[in-house]
């Protein structure tokens, strides 16, 4: 596997090859993030379009990538989240395209503006999630960051589905206690 620097170097010297390499490396990862956010509320075609938008944006913004700030994977993850959230919001604006149930379950959307989650609070949340230990922290990350279903999580971690659900509810209680009113 090429290092971030090598891929970045390829991306700048030969963008087409670079983006091909990045797609080969991170396609499943981007797809996972976008799918987790949009699955069930839009078509597969639109999800794929969003994934392709992410890679196109990586290509388009290649000159502003700063590996000092974080890994290429993290950069791509942030882009994926933002594109998926953008699309989610657009879908919300299309009347009737997203049910209220979906909104409640999948969150974000218009509620983002009303939820003041500042960087400090996010820091606390990240710390507390890590403090949950494994596999609980991974269960939470998979469920709420990647939007994975209980079935997928249970298969990936070798846990029974009801064990995953129990871990989620226990972790939420722990997080609520640890965070107090912070979130």
């Amino acid at each position: 596997m090429l290092s971030d620097k090598e891929i970045y170097s390829l991306l700048t010297t030969n963008p087409e090859k670079g983006i091909a390499r990045i797609m080969n490396e991170y396609m499943a990862f981007v797809y996972t993030i976008v799918y987790g956010k949009l699955s069930g509320i839009t078509s597969k075609q639109e999800i794929e379009e969003c994934v392709s938008d992410v890679f196109y944006e990586v290509y388009r913004t290649r000159s502003s990538i700063d590996l000092e700030k974080g890994s290429l994977k993290a950069y791509i993850a942030v882009l994926s989240k933002r594109r998926a959230v953008d699309l989610f919001r657009r879908l919300v604006k299309r009347v009737g395209e997203v049910s209220t149930d979906d909104l409640n379950l999948l969150t974000s959307g218009e509620n983002v503006e009303n939820s003041v989650i500042n960087a400090e609070t996010s820091e606390i949340l990240l710390t507390e999630i890590k403090n949950l230990g494994e596999p609980d922290s991974q269960v939470i990350i998979r469920k709420y960051y990647l939007g994975q279903s209980t079935k997928i999580i249970s298969k990936a971690l070798g846990l029974k589905p009801n064990t995953v659900d129990k871990k989620v509810s226990r972790a939420l209680v722990k997080l609520k206690q640890a965070l107090g009113g912070a979130i």
Binding site: M1, E6, E16, I19, A20, R21, M23, N24, E25, M27, A28, F29, Y31, T32, Y35, K37, E48, E49, V51, S52, D53, F55, Y56, Y59, K69, G70, S71, K73, A74, Y75, A77, V78, K81, V85, N104, L106, T107, S108, N111, V112, S115, I117, A119, S122, E123, L125, L126, Q138, I140, I141, R142, Y144, Y145, L146, Q148, A156, L172, L175, K176, I183
Partner: protein, 369 residues
């Protein structure tokens, strides 16, 4: 609470995301979906005129770092007892920057050499390609005088110069093949199976250790050893267009076996099958080993002109160790990761990939184009 966690996750910056994401969290993405997305990205970049439409075929993911490398061995006329006179010969690398990669060459006479005379000898690596599990190299050996001998000429790799382990005791013993009516030129196709899976971006370095020309008696061989620290290096690019085709059919066969992948290259077709017990059976250790053998299974290749050709499974790979030249394989266990049709055992089999429309295995058609 849940909503707020998701909202927080939606708004993480790069540094925070870095702390959150781990390895192997992604879900699998179907190959056809991957290709369609790649196509869309290329279109947006203006690198491709038309978006690739969805098609039932599931091909590509090709591995080929094709390169052309010529090793020229210059030697004076030598007679049957005089092979050592070719030392030291100049071996010149004509690949890339023309740097000399091999400084010395000597021939080693093993057992009883019958006769031969070389005015000059040239080794040319005309193609080199890889899939995740093996590399295949085609080498032309061209001589100014007839190359006499019979049997299977072969090219070997030098073990310790190879930065990837090659399967089992075949390390350094790349195999086979090809007889030629033209005794001035022998084409050797050497296939090296790898212990470790390789993927895009991996580089692979090795040194051609020697090539061997058998004599009329299989016990008599001339071994040419190429010494030096020069390395042949290539980088695997699974996206590159090459001589292999991978198809991902995900088809359930009879008895619950699932055909997950087809690899087609000019010399063999491999079928990767999950649920393998139907395909290999264990002999009752006639000589102390557990022997595996494959049930007769026939693969039909459908050419674009409609012609159908049948092949019988010749090998099973995986934790199954092929015994050179034999039709049985002793196995560490009975798991077979793929069945091989064609294979390097039969030099006459050479598929023209462009002419293959698909295959039929156990009555199920799998389009490859």
């Amino acid at each position: 609470m849940e909503e707020r966690i998701i909202t927080a996750f939606d708004n993480l910056d790069i540094t925070q995301t870095e702390r959150l994401i781990g390895e192997n969290m992604e879900i699998k993405i179907k190959n056809k979906d991957r290709r369609r997305i790649e196509s869309a990205v290329l279109e947006k970049m203006g690198a491709k005129k038309e978006r690739r439409a969805y098609a039932p075929r599931k091909l590509v993911a090709v591995a080929l770092a094709a390169m052309l490398l010529t090793l020229t061995i210059t030697a004076g006329a030598v007679n049957e007892w005089d092979f050592n006179r070719v030392l030291p010969a100049i071996v010149q690398n004509l690949f890339g920057n023309n740097e000399k990669i091999l400084d010395n060459m000597h021939s080693e006479i093993k057992n009883n050499v019958v006769s031969n005379t070389f005015e000059g000898l040239e080794l040319e690596i005309t193609s080199l390609y890889a899939d995740e599990y093996s590399i295949t190299m085609t080498v032309d050996v061209v001589a100014e005088a007839p190359i006499l001998g019979q049997g299977v000429p072969r090219v070997n790799l030098i073990n310790n110069a190879c930065n990837r382990s090659v399967v089992e005791d075949n390390i350094g013993m790349g195999t086979y093949q090809v007889h030629s009516e033209d005794r001035y030129k022998i084409t050797i196709v050497a296939n090296f199976n790898l212990n470790d899976e390789i993927s895009t971006g991996d580089s692979f370095t090795f040194t051609v250790g020697n090539f061997v020309i058998p004599r009329f008696n299989h016990d008599d061989e001339v071994v040419y050893t190429l010494e030096g620290d020069a390395e042949i290096k290539f980088t695997v690019d699974l996206l590159a267009k090459g001589n292999n085709i991978n198809a991902y059919p995900d088809i359930t066969l009879k008895n619950g076996n699932i055909l997950t992948r087809v690899v087609l290259n000019p010399f063999e077709i491999r079928l990767f099958i999950d649920g393998r017990e139907d395909y290999i059976h264990r002999n009752t250790a006639p000589d102390g080993f557990g022997y595996g053998y494959i049930k007769e299974d026939v693969l039909s290749i459908v050419a674009k002109n409609g012609m159908v050709t049948d092949y019988t499974a010749l090998q099973a790979y995986g934790p199954v160790i092929p015994r050179t030249g034999a039709s049985y394989w002793y196995a560490e266990d009975e798991n077979v990761t793929y069945l091989s049709f064609g294979s390097s055992f039969d030099n006459d089999i050479l598929f023209d990939i462009d002419d293959i429309a698909g295959i039929i295995f156990r009555g199920i058609e799998i389009p490859l184009y």
